[in-house]
């Protein structure tokens, strides 16, 4: 009950945040943070089934171009194209998933990298459709939401996009949370621990792995679909390999054992470089250092930090006691 209340308070605070933040740049940073939270959390869902996908950047690219092209070439409303961008990424993941999940461990990861690069190359080469390496500019904003007298969101300010991304994030996290805590989540974790055993009691492990890959990719596609309408431009290099690795780092540093882990990781690691802005050129170096520190010192990630501090203080207190 208390935790439910605190979540409610947190969400209310998030709704009021744009009024407190000074200037569009900070709002922009928070929008990126929320995107990264969705990306890292959905990556964790794929990871639950014991496979490390590195196709998230590719899936975002698919989502971004899907939404952009549906709006620009077919004249669809972005409210239709946005869910379709997620669904299309999920569909592609479902199709390529079946051959991919036959590979295990690092081999699965490698093939997802190739897939991701292939998506980027396709976007670069298919010039008539995607505009090649220069990409597409002047992408239209989402259609305004107008309820006369009550609501008038025109997406002319960053704050409007903040609210859109906030709603997308809350819905995404809600769905991811329910899936993880349902029998589907239990099955995925079982497959991660012993996939032959799961198969032997009648669980279609291939199907479940593809399902996890597909659901996770849905959210990558959705986030990717949001981005071009927000930035109003897209090019093939927007979500490359390094971007995917960052998502992986958010998840790992936050801790992939618990739901809150990637949320925490994405939050800390997206905001921290902003604090260290003068050192911006060193960000990749800094991320690598953080990643190594976490892997060596906190294998459970940031979420394991309170428990670890407790152990260390207990040990310290005990040693002091023995010395006295």
């Amino acid at each position: 009950m208390i935790s439910l209340l605190s979540y409610a308070i947190l969400i209310v605070c998030l709704f009021f945040l744009p009024f407190i933040l000074h200037g569009p740049y900070y709002i922009h940073t928070f929008i990126l943070t929320m995107m990264n939270i969705v990306l890292a959390s959905s990556l964790r869902l794929i990871n639950l089934s014991g496979q490390m996908s590195l196709a998230h950047g590719g899936m975002m690219t698919i989502g971004a171009y899907t939404s952009t092209l549906l709006v620009m070439k077919l004249g669809l409303s972005s409210w239709v194209s946005l869910p379709l961008s997620g669904l299309f990424a999920a569909l592609i993941a479902g199709l390529v998933g079946f051959p991919f999940v036959r590979l295990k461990g690092i081999y699965f990861s490698i093939v997802t990298i190739f897939f991701s690069e292939m998506v980027v190359l396709t976007a670069q080469q298919w010039q008539s459709l995607t505009g090649g390496s220069t990409g597409i500019f002047n992408i239209s904003r989402p259609n305004p939401i107008v309820i006369p007298g009550i609501l008038n969101i025109t997406f002319s300010s960053k704050a409007d996009f903040y609210y859109l991304m906030l709603v997308l994030m809350l819905i995404s996290l809600f769905i991811l949370y329910i899936v993880e805590n349902s029998r589907v989540g239990l099955t995925l974790r079982g497959i991660q621990q012993a996939d032959s055993l799961a198969e032997s009691v009648g669980i279609n492990t291939t199907g479940f792995k593809v399902l996890a890959f597909s659901i996770g990719s849905f959210f990558a596609g959705l986030t990717g679909g949001f981005y071009p309408h927000y930035i109003s431009a897209i090019n093939p290099d927007s979500f490359g390999f390094l971007f995917t690795i960052y998502i992986l780092i958010y998840m790992t540093v936050g801790g992939d054992k618990r739901f809150i882990g990637p949320i925490l990781g994405a939050f800390v690691l997206t905001l921290l470089p902003e604090v260290l802005r003068p050192l911006k050129a060193f960000v990749p170096f800094f991320f690598a250092a953080v990643l190594m520190a976490v892997i060596f010192l906190m294998p459970e990630g940031l979420v394991g930090l309170p428990g670890r501090l407790k152990v260390i203080t207990a040990r310290f207190v005990k040693e002091r006691g023995e010395r006295a």
Partner: protein, 254 residues
């Protein structure tokens, strides 16, 4: 119930199993024995679809199930245990069995995720059934223990419980007694005997010869992938071919 005809598996040039014929009738309890490397586990893998046979076929209840997916074969009613990797180590004992009760059809993805009334009722059924299975195998007092912390013997028994949760008609046990102490061995043997008497058909691989002889009605002996003998435990004990396989073609023959 299960008919195996001309079952063959070659790994490269090595014939792990060659031309194996065997059949199990409903209500049988049959042993599969043989020296190390005789191909016993390979036979299990071939029956349950974890390996594709090079030749031959597996027929279960008059349906050809050769080289079908393992999960498909499990839904048909053949469930096997493993020598290693036989539990989900991060789950509690109860969760292990609950997960394996997966086979109940009719709970769709959205039903499960959305916790509809129907799926909640089914989850409740599954919980009751899991608790009943734990009681049957004697692990009910440890339901909330994380399984990586269990003693080896209890892990092996949990492996059997997991298989039972999938409601097998034919249960394949791969060395169920290995690594157990004397007390656990007799306990597990009683469990297997109880399962058989309750009407389950059982095929088991066992290295503990005394246990295999006392549990099984019929025994098939493999050596170098070939069936060298089949019969009652008494016949097997006296079969010269079997004695030679186990003790080697000794000089005493000369």
């Amino acid at each position: 119930m299960l008919k195996i005809g001309g079952l063959t598996k070659n790994f490269g040039g090595l014939a792990a199993v060659s031309g194996l014929d065997a059949s199990i009738h409903s209500g049988d309890i049959m042993g599969l024995i043989g020296p190390n490397g005789a191909g016993k586990t390979t036979v299990f893998n071939l029956i349950t679809g974890f390996l594709r046979p090079t030749a031959g076929q597996v027929v279960f209840e008059d349906k050809d199930i050769t080289a079908k997916n393992p999960h498909h074969i499990a839904t048909k009613g053949i469930v096997r245990t493993f020598q290693g990797d036989n539990i989900f180590p991060d789950f509690t004992v109860l969760q292990n069995v609950v997960l394996a009760c997966h086979l109940k059809p009719g709970v769709g993805f959205f039903e499960t995720v959305l916790h509809t009334a129907g799926s909640r009722r089914k989850e409740k059924d599954i919980l009751h059934r899991s608790q009943a299975i734990l009681k049957l195998v004697g692990l009910d007092t440890m339901a909330d223990v994380t399984t990586r912390n269990l003693a080896h013997g209890h892990k092996r028994i949990l492996g059997i419980a997991i298989a039972l949760a999938a409601e097998p008609k034919l249960l394949l046990l791969d060395e169920p007694l290995s690594g157990m102490n004397a007390g656990e061995v007799s306990e597990t043997m009683r469990l297997i005997d109880r399962l058989w008497k309750s009407g389950m058909t059982i095929l088991l691989i066992e290295h503990n010869m005394r246990a295999a002889m006392s549990l099984c009605q019929r025994i098939v002996v493999l050596n170098f992938g070939r069936k060298i003998a089949e019969g009652s435990p008494e016949e097997i004990k006296e079969n010269p071919e079997v004695i030679r396989a186990y003790l080697g073609a000794g000089e005493h023959a000369a």
